[in-house]
Amino acid sequence: MQPVATTFFFYFLSAVTVISGIAVITRRNPVHSALALIVALLGQAGLYLMLYAPFVAGVQIILYAGGIMVLFLFVIMLVNIERAQKEEQFNKQWIVGIVAALALGVLFVLVYMKGKGLFPQTVAQLPEGENTQGIAMLLYRDYMFAFEIASLLLLVAIIGAVVMAKKRI
């Protein structure tokens, strides 16, 4: 079946992602920020689906929206929110912030100007069913070394967390 109303869905999902992304940094209540972040992640998952990457979309929902954000919310629910709301929301490093924002903005403009050269003219028609296999081939054959380094980093982080949390091991 041919995809329908792709333009509408693209703008809709992008709007959801961007608006909830802004809400994440502007809400005073940390629980609201966390909820907005969940919505942003779900919007992103929708965008992945539109790019014919169903596996990435599913994993995005299961791991980020359904796993990691639950743990975020878990910690936030235990924090005293009355105190958190009185604390200052933005720190004073606005000069660094503006420089970073300008650099990113320039990058975006350049990509937009050169867009025609950077991206292929026609959208590649990917076989729908082979997304999962394709990712597996890339991860476990072509980029095996990088993948293993990433997993080693995660292992170090886990051990570090256990060492910091436990007084006696």
């Binding site: 329908v4 169903p54 639950v70 629910m77």
Partner: protein, 345 residues
């Protein structure tokens, strides 16, 4: 290939039928539970409303609708109202990808007995159920009371912990079928061993995975013996302490809808879905929906049976069981299945 209009009409019809059947099944699951647990405890269960108390779910529904919808003054309103809705929406969504039968042709329209066949069906179900945690967690937080918060925290910790074993127990099945699509997983389970044992995953080397799935699923749906989140003796009613009337009923519906989803998934992944037994009269083997419903019913009956039999875990026992027993077992099962499939290939 159907035109887009027919496709939408067919989808809407299938969705309406599936939701109607699911909600009726939820209501009668409650009736079955009260009846069976009653008989286990040497009581009759509901008998007054209708023959065998069959109209009891209807009476319960009416009661919930007409009760005063109380909102305590100390709650955080938007999330307090949204939480039961989230719970029920995510509980009902996952029925969309569950196949209950093969392709049928009705009035010239050739369509599968499934609302939609997506090629990541299993990931969709896992994703939707993992989002279901938010209903419980937010209900606990927004109620602004000690019991609710503790119940919500317990529930989310428990669901996140057991989700890991649940997911790992399913990967063995995925390796055998080579697909995320639930329809292809069922198709991979056709045929028999020696002519009389069906080639279901349960008999095809995944029996350990089935029991891991069974236990993790009980914990995911917060049922006995893992119903810590609503342990009456410690937490009054856990995360739904502050809820009443229809909002409470929505949590109730979500719990039973989740049970049915888990039962459907078990019959699709381990019990051959709509495939019947390979012996018996031919007309009986050719009733896909009957076999599917029968398997789901058996699974639900075991659920209720367990509830009438086992006591509740202690919280540290629950966590130790999940992380120190189920998880290593699931990983071992996964490694062994992968090795055998790799050696055979």
């Amino acid at each position: 290939m159907l035109s887009i209009e027919t496709y939408i009409i067919v989808s809407v019809i299938k969705t309406v039928i599936a939701l109607f059947v699911l909600l009726t099944a939820v209501a009668y699951c409650v009736w079955l539970e009260r009846k069976v647990v009653g008989h286990i405890q040497n009581r009759w269960g509901p008998t007054r409303v209708g023959p065998f108390g069959l109209l009891q779910p209807l009476a319960d529904g009416m009661k919930f609708l007409f009760k005063e919808d109380l909102t305590p003054p100390h709650v955080y309103k938007p999330l307090y109202i949204a939480a039961p809705m989230l719970a029920v929406v995510f509980a009902l969504t996952s029925i969309a990808v569950i196949p209950i039968g093969n392709w049928v042709t009705i009035g010239g329209v050739h369509t599968p007995l499934q609302i939609t066949d997506v090629n990541i069906g299993l990931l969709v179900i896992l994703g939707v159920t993992s989002l279901g945690v938010y209903g419980v967690a937010l209900a606990g937080w927004s109620s602004n009371s000690k019991y609710s918060l503790l119940g919500g925290l317990r529930a989310s910790a428990q669901m996140v912990s057991y989700e890991v074993s649940l997911g790992l127990s399913l990967i063995g099945v995925l390796i055998m079928a080579g697909s995320f699509s639930l329809r292809e997983i069922v198709d991979a389970q056709g045929g028999t061993f020696w002519g009389f044992i069906p080639r279901w995953n349960l008999f095809h080397g995944q029996i350990v995975a089935f029991f891991i799935y069974l236990m993790a699923a009980y914990a995911e749906t917060n049922r006995v013996p893992f119903d810590l989140p609503e342990a009456e003796t410690e937490l009054v009613a856990g995360y739904h302490t502050e809820y009443s009337a229809m909002k409470f009923a929505m949590f109730f519906m979500a719990e039973y809808a989740n049970m049915i989803t888990v039962a459907c998934l078990a019959s699709v992944l381990f019990l051959g879905g709509w495939k019947g037994l390979p012996f018996g009269p031919a007309w009986l083997q050719d009733l896909p929906v009957f076999w599917f419903v029968l398997k789901v019913f058996v699974f639900l009956f075991i659920y209720i049976w367990v509830r009438g039999t086992l006591p509740r875990f202690r919280y540290d026992q629950l966590m130790a069981f999940g992380w120190k027993f189920l998880l290593p077992l699931a990983i071992a099962n996964l490694v062994i299945t992968a090795l055998i499939v790799a050696v055979r290939a």
